[in-house]
C-alpha cells in the first residue's frame, strides 16, 4: 500500500471488527476515484470521515451498501463479502436478491433525506418492515411510533414529508433506516442540506444513537460532532486515506500537511 497512513490509531472501542474495507479501488470509467482505501470499523464504533469535496467520501459509503460496485479490493460487513461471492478464489456477482438481503443489515441516511413524498412519516417508516421483512402492519406501526418518539417526532406521524422541516425530515429518515434494525448505519453528510438552526436536532439524534451502541460511519463537515462523538476520525483526500486516528488527537496534532491545511479551513 502506497497510501500514507498514520500509525497512532488509538482504537477506543474494543469490539470485533464489523466493517473491513481492504484496498478498495473505484473507477468511474477512467476516473480513478478511490485509490486503495483501507479501513476497519469495530462494533459500536463511530467512525467519522472528513475530507475536501470530491475526495470520494460519498463514493466509499455508497460502495459499502452496493449503491456503487467496487472495482478492486474487498468490503466485508460481519463475514459477508459485500456484492460478491467467492467461489474457489473467483468472485461472482451476487444476484439482486442477495444484495437486497445484505442491504437490510445496513441503514443509510442521505444528504437530501430521500423520504418517499407520497407517504406520511409513519408510512415511510413501515414501508420496508412490512414489504421486505413481512412484519404485520400493527407490529410495524407500533415499532415505527416508538422510533418516531425516539427522534422526537411522535406527533408528526401522519404528516407528509412536504409538511415537515428539513431537520424533521432527516430525523424521520433516520427512523426509517432504524426500522429495519440494521447492524450498521451510514450517514452521508446528514446535516449539510439543513438550515443551521436545525442541525442540532439531527446531531442530537445521532449522538444518542451512538450512545446506544450503534455502529456508525459518518461523513460530515461537523467537526464538533466528530470531536465529541467520534471514536475514529479519518481524513480522506483525492481517493486515499491520508490520516486516521483518535479524533481529538488528529485535530490537535495532525501529522500531514494536507490534514493540517484542511482542518485549518474547517475548524
Amino acid at each position: 500500500m502506497s497510501t500514507p497512513m498514520n500509525e497512532t490509531v488509538a482504537a477506543v472501542k474494543t469490539g470485533e471488527p464489523l466493517v473491513r474495507i481492504e484496498d478498495v479501488h473505484k473507477f468511474f470509467g477512467t476516473h480513478h476515484v478511490l485509490r486503495g482505501i483501507d479501513m476497519t470499523v469495530r462494533e459500536g464504533e463511530v467512525s467519522v470521515i472528513i475530507g475536501p469535496s470530491g475526495s470520494g467520501k460519498s463514493t466509499l459509503l455508497r460502495c459499502v451498501n452496493m449503491l456503487e460496485t467496487i472495482s478492486a479490493g474487498r468490503i466485508r460487513v460481519r463475514d459477508d463479502l459485500i456484492g460478491f461471492r467467492d467461489v474457489n478464489g473467483r468472485l461472482h456477482h451476487l444476484p439482486a436478491k442477495d444484495i437486497a438481503a445484505q442491504r437490510r443489515e445496513i441503514g443509510m441516511v442521505f444528504q437530501r433525506f430521500n423520504l418517499f413524498p407520497h407517504r406520511t412519516a409513519l408510512q415511510n417508516i413501515i414501508e420496508a418492515p412490512t414489504q421486505v421483512k413481512r412484519q404485520s402492519k400493527a407490529a410495524a406501526r407500533a415499532k415505527a411510533m416508538e422510533l418516531l418518539d425516539r427522534v422526537g417526532l411522535a406527533e408528526k406521524a401522519d404528516y407528509y414529508p412536504a409538511q415537515l422541516s428539513g431537520g424533521q425530515q432527516q430525523r424521520v429518515a433516520i427512523a426509517r433506516a432504524l426500522a429495519m434494525e440494521p447492524e450498521l448505519m451510514l450517514f452521508d453528510e446528514p446535516t449539510s442540506a439543513l438550515d443551521p438552526e436545525l442541525v442540532g436536532d439531527v446531531l442530537n439524534v445521532m449522538k444518542d444513537l451512538a450512545q446506544s451502541g450503534m455502529t456508525m460511519i459518518v461523513v460530515t463537515h461537523e467537526i464538533g460532532f466528530a470531536r465529541e462523538v467520534g471514536d475514529t476520525l479519518t481524513f480522506m483526500d483525492a481517493g486515499v486515506v491520508v490520516e486516521s486516528g483518535d479524533p481529538r488527537e488528529v485535530m490537535a496534532n495532525p501529522q500531514h500537511a494536507r490534514t493540517r491545511e484542511f482542518l485549518s479551513r474547517v475548524l
Binding site: R104, H118, E127, Q131, V132, V205, D208
Partner: protein, 323 residues
C-alpha cells in the same frame, strides 16, 4: 407564534392597538370589460343562431338522442374505449419497465414495439387486424418448427370486436409507453437509492415507490389519450366493426337523410362522456397528488397511536430528539 401574553417580556404593556387596515382603490381594468362585452355579444349571436336556424332540426336531435340504437352505440363505444385503454395501460407499464431494465434484450424489444406501433397509422393497423384471419386462418401453440400443442380457427377467436380492441389497444400502448417512460424518469433517482438501501427489490420499488410518484406526471396526458381514444374508436369501421356510436348515427343519418341533427346527437354524447372522464381524472389526479399537490392539514390521529405503542404516554416535544 401568536400565543397569549408572553410572560415577563411584554406583560406591562397593553395589547397593541389594532392597526388601521389599508383600504386602497383597486386598479381598474377597462380592457376586461370591453373584452367581456365582445364575448357576450358573440355568445348571444351563437345561441340565437342555434335556436332560430331551422336546419339544426332540434326536434330530430331530441328524437334520436335517447334512441335505443344510439344508446347501444354508446355502450359499444365505451366498451371499446375502456378495454383498449386497459390493454394499452397494462402494456405501457410493461414496456416502460422493460425500457428501464438492465436487460438489453428487454430494452430493444420495448423500443422496437414503440417504433412499430407508433410508426404505422392506426387505420392501417385496424384494417390489418380485420384481415388477420385471412393472414393466419389458424392459431396454433406449439414448439417452433416442432409439434403443435393445440390450435383453433382464427375466425372463431378474433371476431370484429376483438380485432378492434386489439388494434386500438396495441397502437395506443406505444404512445402510452412513452408517457409512462417520461413519468418514471421524472422521479428523483434518490427515491430508487433510498428504497434500495432499505433492502427492497427492484420490482417492489417500481410498483410501490417509483410508479405512484410517476403517476402525478402520467395521469394528465393519459387522460388526454383516453379522451382521444374515445373518438378514435370511430375508426373501427376499418375492421369493420359497425356498432359504435359514430357508425350508428351515420347509419341513421343516411337512412333518414338528416346528417346534421345526427352529427349533433353524436357530438352531444361524446361531450357528455368526455365530461365524465374529466371528472374521473380529477379524482385520480387528486389521489396521486397526495403528499405533494394537495397537502391537506395533517390529521392528528397519530397521538392515539403513540399511546397505543407505549405504556407511558409520550411526553416528547417537537424539538430535540432523545434516543
Amino acid at each position: 407564534m401568536s400565543g397569549p401574553a408572553l410572560s415577563g417580556t411584554r406583560s406591562d404593556k397593553a395589547a397593541p392597538a389594532r392597526p388601521e387596515l389599508i383600504d386602497a382603490v383597486p386598479v381598474r381594468h377597462p380592457g376586461r370589460w370591453a373584452g367581456a362585452v365582445i364575448i357576450f355579444i358573440v355568445a348571444a349571436l351563437l345561441v340565437q343562431s342555434l335556436v332560430t336556424n331551422q336546419n339544426f332540426r332540434w326536434d330530430t336531435v331530441g328524437t334520436y338522442l335517447l334512441d335505443v340504437l344510439v344508446i347501444q352505440g354508446i355502450g359499444w363505444t365505451l366498451l371499446l374505449t375502456v378495454l383498449s385503454m386497459v390493454i394499452a395501460i397494462v402494456l405501457a407499464i410493461l414496456l416502460a419497465f422493460m425500457r428501464q431494465s438492465d436487460n438489453p434484450l428487454f430494452r430493444y424489444v420495448s423500443w422496437v414495439w414503440v417504433w412499430f406501433f407508433r410508426g404505422t397509422p392506426v387505420y392501417t393497423q385496424l384494417v390489418f387486424w380485420g384481415l388477420i384471419a385471412v393472414l393466419y386462418p389458424k392459431i396454433a401453440l406449439g414448439v417452433p418448427f416442432g409439434p403443435e400443442l393445440f390450435s383453433f380457427s382464427t375466425q372463431d377467436v378474433i371476431n370484429a370486436f376483438i380485432a378492434a380492441v386489439l388494434g386500438l389497444g396495441l397502437n395506443e400502448s406505444a404512445y402510452l409507453a412513452e408517457i409512462f417512460r417520461a413519468g418514471l424518469k421524472s422521479v428523483d433517482t434518490g427515491q430508487m437509492e433510498a428504497a434500495e438501501a432499505l433492502g427492497m427489490r427492484k420490482s417492489k420499488i417500481m410498483w410501490r415507490i417509483i410508479l405512484p410518484q410517476a403517476m402525478r406526471v402520467i395521469v394528465p396526458p393519459t387522460g388526454n389519450e383516453t379522451i382521444g381514444m374515445l373518438k378514435t374508436t370511430s375508426l373501427v369501421l376499418a375492421v369493420p366493426f359497425t356498432l359504435d356510436l359514430t357508425f350508428v348515427t351515420n347509419g341513421i343519418a343516411n337512412r333518414s337523410y338528416l346528417p346534421i341533427p345526427l352529427l349533433i346527437v353524436a357530438a352531444i354524447w361524446y361531450l357528455v362522456i368526455t365530461s365524465v372522464l374529466m371528472v374521473g381524472q380529477y379524482f385520480i389526479e387528486r389521489h396521486y397528488g397526495k403528499g405533494v399537490d394537495n397537502l391537506i392539514p395533517a390529521p392528528v390521529k397519530a397521538t392515539q397511536a403513540v399511546t397505543a405503542a407505549h405504556t407511558t404516554p409520550a411526553t416528547t416535544a417537537d424539538e430535540g430528539g432523545h434516543v
